[in-house]
């Protein structure tokens, strides 16, 4: 859209109460150049008193727009705001209303940036905010950081940080982190201020503010941090509580590439006793751990997750899906982690790992386990295999990959034990494992060892095939129908439940086709002509191998797997 409105149009819209809607549907949708022109026009009319843009928030007409229209209108107003001549109080009130209405949306805070721009246009504006904040005005406290940023007044920010308390001090500290560092001396001075604040044994909120500011300084440097700065970060993280922990997680996420081992350790230590109900912190921690993995702090990240989850059953590995994806990007790392967790035997870790390995592959992901990760002790080798069977039984490829990896390195009595396990319960339940084992090259040292298990399996199958169907004992047609109906009902419920978790289905309009192999519908084109939109349906299926013994001896199978899972290492 390119048409810039006339002044008369804008004034009329204001007078008849439709300006808010027009900002959203018309002005906010303009191309960049016309939008700028319209914004300047609105600013001019506002400054001339012909319209009052702030009244749109006061009377609520802007705030009641639906989200999409509201943010479109706000986006337009953000470009108008810096041009307005208004009292600081009124501007702050207006911006505060916009931010509040924006809620948790990622774009909610953009009006604050507009306010910062507004402050920059006239230096006294920042001073008014600072003064009001020092006097304790709650609204001014909210905008102190932006005012200080706009004026780039580091000296005032330092002074306020050291002399004031509460929200005022926090805002000043935050400003110290956000105001660009112009030189080393300035940076060192700010660092000294932050360090001084830490010396005073601050409360959790203050500590978090210091941490946040130090981190901002760190990320500004665009390189690995100066030791002194890293030291401040580590000190800030140490001894903090929930709010500090939350920021510590954020640091790990956003600044891992600037950290060193000691700082990472300090940040992780502050997150050791994370409460499951702190879901936002948990989410940041997950991002942070993934970031640590990507930036080379793999062991620290794994150790942290291992420690956290083996000590609690209130958290699950599903809370760390980004971390797991980062781990999974390296086959070796994933294999090492698997062996480590199987050795520990923690239900939370092993069960979570099983769920992760199932993604995208119903038979489970094949693990590549480096030889160095395989335990050397004979008993532990058997133990790890039993654990793998217990936890990965329903992922036969994963289970087989672990057994094969251990068998490759096994010695002594462990060899026959693992061969036995490969046969029962793995091959005896899943014929498909034969295909997996068949893909092992003949040059692989484990190839010979697998033959024994395959031979046992072949004998077993020969025996079963030698028995003809006992017609007399086959289930009746009636019984089969009952069984099929129940399974069908279970599948239907599972399908319905799965659909509820889909992120896509809530975004699209549903059409239910009762007949046909495709659909055709007609839409009106831009030229006013009807245009046919056709779509053929394709089939989509899923299959998985059902373990044989689940039909022949479900209690025995369940008991065996439970024993494997519950087994404790004797070492």
């Amino acid at each position: 859209m390119t048409k810039v409105p006339s002044s008369r149009e804008v004034i009329n819209a204001f007078e008849d109460g439709t300006l808010a809607a027009q900002l959203a549907t018309r002005f906010g949708g303009l191309d960049s150049a016309p939008m700028h022109k319209t914004a300047m026009l609105c600013a001019k009319l506002h400054n001339a008193g012909k319209i009052d843009l702030f009244r749109l928030a006061e009377d609520g007409s802007l705030l009641v727009l639906d989200d999409w229209r509201f943010f479109t209108a706000t986006n337009f107003l953000d470009s108008v705001l810096p041009e307005l001549d208004e009292s600081t109080e009124r501007v702050m009130t207006f911006v505060d209303k916009l931010v509040t209405r924006g809620g948790n949306d990622g774009a909610a805070n953009l009006p604050n940036a507009a306010f910062r721009e507004w402050c920059k246009r006239a230096p006294h504006r920042s001073a008014v905010v600072v003064e009001a904040a020092i006097e304790g005005a709650p609204l001014a406290n909210k905008f102190l950081i932006f005012a200080l940023e706009a004026s780039m007044d580091v000296t005032t920010a330092k002074r306020i940080a050291l002399t004031e308390s509460g929200e005022t001090a926090h805002a000043a500290i935050a400003a110290l982190g956000r105001i660009p560092v112009s030189d080393e001396v300035s940076g060192a001075e700010r660092l000294a201020t932050l360090s001084e604040l830490l010396n005073r044994d601050p409360d959790d909120r203050m500590r978090a503010a210091v941490l946040h500011a130090a981190t901002n300084m760190l990320t500004q440097s665009k390189q690995r941090g100066v030791d002194a700065l890293l030291n401040v970060v580590a000190r800030a993280a140490n001894g903090g509580e929930e709010i500090t922990s939350h920021h510590a997680a954020q640091v790990l996420w956003l600044a891992s590439d600037h950290l060193d081992n000691a700082t990472v350790a300090a940040l992780l230590a502050s997150l050791r006793h994370l409460k499951p109900e702190n879901t936002a912190t948990l989410e940041f921690l997950d991002y942070g751990l993934a970031s640590l993995v990507k930036n080379g702090f793999v062991e620290a990240a794994i150790e942290h997750v291992t420690g956290l989850l083996s000590e609690t059953d209130c958290l699950g590995l599903e809370s760390f899906d980004d971390f797991m994806r980062a781990i999974g990007a390296s086959e070796d790392t994933l294999g090492e982690v698997a062996i480590r967790w199987l050795q520990i035997g923690s239900a939370v870790l092993c069960d979570g790992l099983a769920h992760f390995l199932q993604h995208g592959n119903p038979r489970g992901r094949s693990l590549m386990i480096p030889a160095a990760a395989i335990p050397r002790h004979v008993r532990m080798q058997g133990y790890v295999c039993r654990k793998a069977l217990g936890w990965f039984f329903f992922l036969p490829t994963t289970a087989a990959s672990v057994l094969v990896a251990v068998l490759r390195e096994a010695e002594g009595e462990a060899i026959s034990e693992i061969q036995s396990l490969l046969f029962d319960p793995l091959l005896i339940n899943y014929g498909g494992v034969v295909d997996y084992l068949g893909n092992i090259p003949s040059g692989d040292p484990v190839h010979e060892r697998i033959k024994a298990a395959l031979a046992l399996h072949e004998d077993y199958l020969k025996g079963i095939r030698s028995v003809d169907t006992i017609q007399e004992m086959r289930p009746s047609e009636h019984g089969q129908q009952i069984h099929r109906r129940r399974i069908s009902e279970e599948m239907r419920r599972a399908h319905k439940s799965a659909r509820k978790e889909s992120v896509f289905l809530n975004l699209v309009r549903h059409s239910v086709l009762l007949y046909g192999r495709g659909a055709v519908s007609f839409v009106q084109g831009s030229n006013g002509m009807l245009r046919a939109v056709e779509m053929d349906l394709e089939s989509h299926g899923f299959s998985m191998e059902y373990p044989r013994i689940a039909s022949l001896d479900p209690i025995g199978l369940d008991y065996k797997l439970r024993l494997y899972r519950a087994e404790k290492s004797k070492q």
Binding site: V467, T469, I470, M473, S476, S551, D553, D558
Partner: protein, 601 residues
Amino acid sequence: MKALVRDYLASLRERDELDAVLPELLGELGFHVFSRPGRGTQQLGVDVAAIGKGEDGEDAVFLFSVKPGNLTRREWSNDSPQSLRPSLEEILDAYIENRIPVEYRGLKVVICIVIGGEVHEHMREKLRGFFGKHTSLKISFQEWDGDRLAELILRGLLREEILPAQLRSSFRKAIAMLDEPDVSMQHFTELVRSLLKMDKGSKTRLRVARQLNICTWILYVWARGVGNIEAPYRASELALLATWELVRRSIDNKGVPNKDLNRVLRHAIGLHLDVSGAFVDKITPSVGVMHGISAAIESRSSLDVNLALFGILGRIGLWGLWMHWLKAHASEGTHSFGDGFDNAVTAGIKLIRNNPALLLPVSDQQTTDIALFLQLWLAESMDLSEVRNWLVEMTGRLNYAIRTRGHYPSCSTDYAELDDHQSHHKDDEFFKEATAGSTLIPLIAAWLHALGETEAFDALAKLVKEELDHCTLQLWLPDTSSEPAMYIGGEQHGRALTDLSLDQGGQTLVSTIAEACKRTDEFQKLSPIIFDSWPILFVACHYYQLPVPANLWIFPLLPQEKSPPPAAATPAPTENASVDRATSAGKKLGAKKITAAKGCK
């Protein structure tokens, strides 16, 4: 209907099968049979001899020589003594001169060749030639082929007046649905119940028994053809029980049952053993294969596998008990049935070892199958290690299944409910309902105590206390209502022995059960016990899925009492004279050997 009967006759394989049908058929047609098929004795070509009306309406001696299948050149004359021509020559040369009872020597003789199938065309001339050569004023020949036999059966045993259209329809449907045994049995059961209602007196009673016998035979032979003998297995049990009911009704005031009915009963037992033997023979070669039988059931549902396996175990147990009984009642020169018994035990043990679903039933009703197999150990004192292992493992699994709310046994008998168990087993309300009662636990507990497995018993007692407080532990005992209802089903009968407790220990439990059994003599008054035909009782429990009465197994489990096994059980002393008379009559009943018992290996 004729085609159905005709094909049945043509399919009869063994001599014994056609032999078994013919005398009853003749009896129903008004013939007086004075010589029946026998094994081991020289028959001189004659399988059945009877007095009947000749073509001239006068009494004549009919000498039947039976040949199953079609008559071909090979069957007519070869080196085998069973071929027809030598048999006819023996009749002419020896039998007529020496074997016809004195009182019938003045009558004309009609030699009948009975062919199950057809006479091949090229044989007709030979037959006519032979007949022509040897026909005289005294001796004539008749040919009864499959067509004529079918006609006779339809005009005789299965004629319209005594087997009305509706029952014929039920019978046809039973045969048509042989590959759906449940449906086949529905129709066959309707036929049996309707036939029983036709019992108006001794004459009709005998005819009904014969009809049951021949209908079951026809069903069996057809089922053999389609390769599924499930329906005739169950039908043979039902027919046997129905025949026993008829025998029971025929007991006179001297306590003696009708001897003709008795004979039909033996045929019914023989047929049941034929079918059972065929079933066991199908199973036993594969019991040593790991998961072999389980996989051969061809179902993905663990419920189906479990139900089928315990069904097989119960049938093996029943078969073994019959062998044990036959061993005690067989006369000299007949098969040794000891091997059959041993084979049953071995087969059962191997079945359990290689099919672990047998380590815990899915329904309490399967306790009957378990009890039947356990009964074998009581029949003959055997090494108990296998039983011990089995029951201890069963206890362990029961404990595990209950505590984890897994595949624990349910007291439901409905397939849909048992199937639904898979979905709801963790639900507490469902659990309480499903475990509201148990006959399995008292049975296992009594055995564990008797075996000295204190640890397992205590574990079971602890399980009951902690998880099954709501469960009524019980057994079943027959009472006065049982005898009229036991063999024909349809109504609840007997008494539940309830509120059994494991809290006081195993000795108290078994003593309580024993005391309850001694309290009345209703068990001793059951007709199969009186007449020393106790396997009938097991058949009734098996067919109607009733718990095996504790009277049959508790006493050998008591520490000091060494009661003899049921086979040699004598009725408890009583002042009731009719029972005494019945007892002595029972010895006559039980003493007759079963000639049709095949498959005893």
